[in-house]
Amino acid sequence: MTLRISLGCVAVAAVLLTAREGQAQQQLGPVSGGVVTSTAKPLSPENGVRLGDGALLHAGVGVEAGYDSNVFYNDSDRAASAVLRVTPFMELTNTSRNGEVPSGLFYDLRALVLYREYFSDQPDVTRLRSFSPTVNAAVEHNSRGSLAVGATEIYTRAEDAPYTRGTTEQLIIRNNNTATAQLRWAPGGGRLQGLVRYTNTIDWFETDYLKPANAMGHEGMLDLSWRWLPKTALYLQLRQGYISYFNSDPGMTLSATQKSSSYPLRAVVGIRGLVTEKTSVALALGYQNGFYSNGVNTGGFLGSTSAAAEVVYLPILSTRLSLGVRHDFQNSVIGNFYYSDGTYATASQQISDRFVGQLWGSYDYRRYYGLPGAQDPRRDKFTQAGVILDYYLKTWAYAGVSYTLNVNRSDYMPMGNALAGVNYTKHQTFARVGITY
């Protein structure tokens, strides 16, 4: 059951990846589910068309009309434009009308497309129209509650504006496919639990100058937890990965356009769960190492330390507040990796039966290592913030407004020259309506 909730979150997460296409996405905290906020509308199990005993079909569409203050993410050459986004979706699941997942086999299949159209008198802006599809699937089989096998699959194609103007500049097109397979067992009363998971990630750029970063990642994870309270667990988690680039030749000296493969290792211990009836925490502390085959590697005491802390507080049922901090490293499209020191906060509030508001913000201080022709490290300060207000006309229809802010500040000066796009401030404001039946 709990695993299914996690699997169900994948569906929401997949929507987020596309709904917020063009903005940075990152996994943040283990309690909040890994995303800053949700612009996707939740699906009510009371809606949908019942196709049979084991199939419930949801469908809907969202239309957003708004304004983008900086289409090219470039403060040195700003281009503003009106923009329209249309997001139709379909979902097929065997969740029951009351929201419960069935015992035995559970599945959830979802597909959506984000269509974006700019309205401008500048041809290098209007040509940025895009189709960004997302497909995701989650399947799980639970046998008698003690053993559960599950698999998820998420494919996302994100299409976004380049950093510089021009009718010949290639759009940034990134395809990402993440598939997981996992086995969870909880013998006896479930006090001891184990989880083994394999994750395969394919990252594929269609943009020519980004193709050196086309990569495949494998990761094995072992998570052992002891629930010393019904909803609180101490855990040990080991993750070993292998990331290889399609254009690199392991064992050979890399050329200027080749990237280094790596064997990222993370081992953490921590606590997850409720500390009071209204407060959840997630704490993790451990060791990390990138084990890059070539070039600079993670190191030092802080560089080898992985840490995360998150608190989620629900003062009342209609209010949710969360706050988190983290320090870790991530494999990077540029250079080898970056250290990420970040903090984030979210607040969501249901003001009445029909009015829902969300507010979030995050700040990430990134230090990139291994960039050719530039200082090491490159330091970026990346900030995101946003607010969403929605009014539900019906359980399946809403209207609202949203605002998002993206700011990046960097000291990156390749060859001593400023580069377009490393510093930008981007405001996006939308009015939106939609149905989610």
Binding site: S6, Q27, E46, Y163, R174, S225, V312, A374
Partner: protein
Amino acid sequence: MKTLTKLITGTLLVSSTVFAQPSAPAGTASGGGASAGGEVDISVGQKPTLTVDEMTSQARQYQQSMTQVLQRVQVLQETARKQKDIIKLNCVSDKLVQAKVNASIADQAMTALQENIAKADEGGRTHEFTRLTIINQKVLVLGAEAENCIGEDLTFVGATRIDVEVDPNIPNSDPTQPGIPVAAVERPPAASTYR
């Protein structure tokens, strides 16, 4: 003398019966008939005081209960089959068929209940919940009759049931589970060369 004794005894019996009756409420005429100006509550006192959540929860419990009975009757059917006792088998099979039909009706009632809740139809909701209650009772009776078919009624006390009371303020989700990885489909940072 005998006549006098009978008269006194009879008078006491009648008077005690009269005094044992509850007094008529104010505003109603004695004699049992409708009053001239007062209103009489003729509604059937069956309207449940359950909230929507409680009703849904209770309905789910009914469904679980019926599922357990069906499983038990299927076990009994298998037992009769192994014993090669055709009389027991026919008896249990008959109960099982009836129980399945009732469970099917219960599923329909559950769906209708959910629809009525979604439509905020209180009358319909109450009706479907009442249906579910009656069907649940029928299935329980069929389960007991199936036990009688096998002759284990006195030894079988029902499936083990554990009632756990959870503070309603505690979230339903399980925060002890690790999250599913979410791919970081970020926009690549601007750079002079992508290596």
